[in-house]
Symmetry: C2
Subunit: 210 residues, 2 copies
DNA sequence: TATAATTAACTAATCAGTTGGTTAATGAGG
DNA sequence: CCTCATTAACCAACTGATTAGTTAATTATA
């Protein structure tokens, strides 16, 4: 009846903490996430969290970097061999949509951070968010210069795309419930492909010249 | 040197607590808002919060009802003597935009609540949110039947409008800062009228028949 | 054996909510 | 108009639970 002794693996432990932290932070938010709870989820002692990440804030920033680096890299990769702005825009939307759908902590985390005025937003998050927007804006800009888009306010268009996609992901359970309750059409059975197809179609129409 | 004694006014105190709670909940979120802090802000004893609102959750729901009733009533009022779907849509967007701008706790609170899957969202909030969406969807529906709109998925269009407006409000300080740092165009000097005008124009173009 | 990984047990602060009591306003009877 | 009882409004001080973060000792591994 000896206790099953755990293998020691620093990398694995550190990664495990990060992965669990992503789940907890994105579902509960920063301040409702308890380090005790996180430790239990990892089956590690709470002190290990501080051993690897110093502070709760430090862990949170590591989570952010992980998530935003991932989506940025994914979009860059998918856009690699496209040169037409119209197709780049399409690819951006489609890639973001798929990623957001399969990594739903991204929309949760972004919306939560954007829901206040960013007074205490970590600098790293702010930096990475700007990077993603700049990428999007540059696609639009090239499109305008090539004459495929007109009358563009990039910031608004960006939020029309990314904001909508994020909300469609995070509200999925609510939309299903709302449909069950009042029978209203909440797009509750749409999958992410349909959503991004529709969005692409509409954004194109919106930006195209008469 | 007698201490300046406070007049007793139950209604005023109760209202004061609610007003301060709106500010705190929308800027800090539910769990980061301390009842102690709120009491200090009201210059009342903490026990008074529980005297009037029983629990923190109860206070939060009172806050929600207050905010969402207000925006709903405002939109209904502004739409009262309009019958054309196109104008109704325009009025909805314009009214929502102005309200969101002058009551910025609304976007903060909505985005925050929508950023998780709504597992612990108060029933009252869910109910009021549906009401607002149903109003919007019915405008679109009438428009489709009258032939002014085509190819409409109301849920997506709703988020394109409301999601974008909410984000433009909450991110205002961040957008200004981003513009200062990288010189990028973040629509940082746009006022809410320009934003809603642009949005109306684009949404119209999006939904109008060829 | 040296050091990296891990732990139990702790601290000090903060939290929502309660308790038991103290004022201030109110209304009725003299 | 005054007085006294009733009650609504208010508060200081508390409870018990939870929090982020620390420490000092203990394993496992190279």
């Amino acid at each position: 009846m000896t206790k099953p002794m755990k293998k020691r693996d620093a990398k694995k432990s550190k990664k495990l903490i990060l992965d669990c932290a992503i789940k907890l932070f994105s579902t509960n938010g920063y301040s409702s996430t308890s380090m005790e709870e996180l430790a239990k989820m990892c089956d590690l002692n709470k002190a290990m969290i501080f051993y690897y990440y110093k502070t709760k804030q430090g862990l949170y920033e590591a989570v952010i970097i992980q998530i935003l680096d991932e989506i940025y890299a994914t979009i860059i990769k998918e856009n690699a061999d496209i040169s037409k702005p119209m197709e780049e825009l399409e690819s951006f939307i489609k890639t973001y949509a798929l990623f957001a759908c399969s990594h739903s902590y991204l929309p949760s985390l972004l919306l939560r951070e954007l829901s206040d005025s960013g007074a205490k937003m970590p600098k790293t998050l702010f930096f990475h968010m700007r990077k993603l927007y700049i990428l999007f804006a540059s696609i639009l800009d090239r499109g305008v210069k090539k004459g495929c888009f007109e009358d563009v306010i990039p910031m608004i268009v960006y939020f029309m795309v990314v904001g909508t996609l994020n909300l469609m992901v995070t509200t999925k359970p609510l939309r299903i419930k709302a449909h069950e309750i009042d029978g209203i059409d909440t797009c509750s059975t749409c999958d992410m492909d349909e959503i991004s197809e529709y969005l692409i179609k509409k954004i194109k129409k919106m930006l195209k010249e008469k």
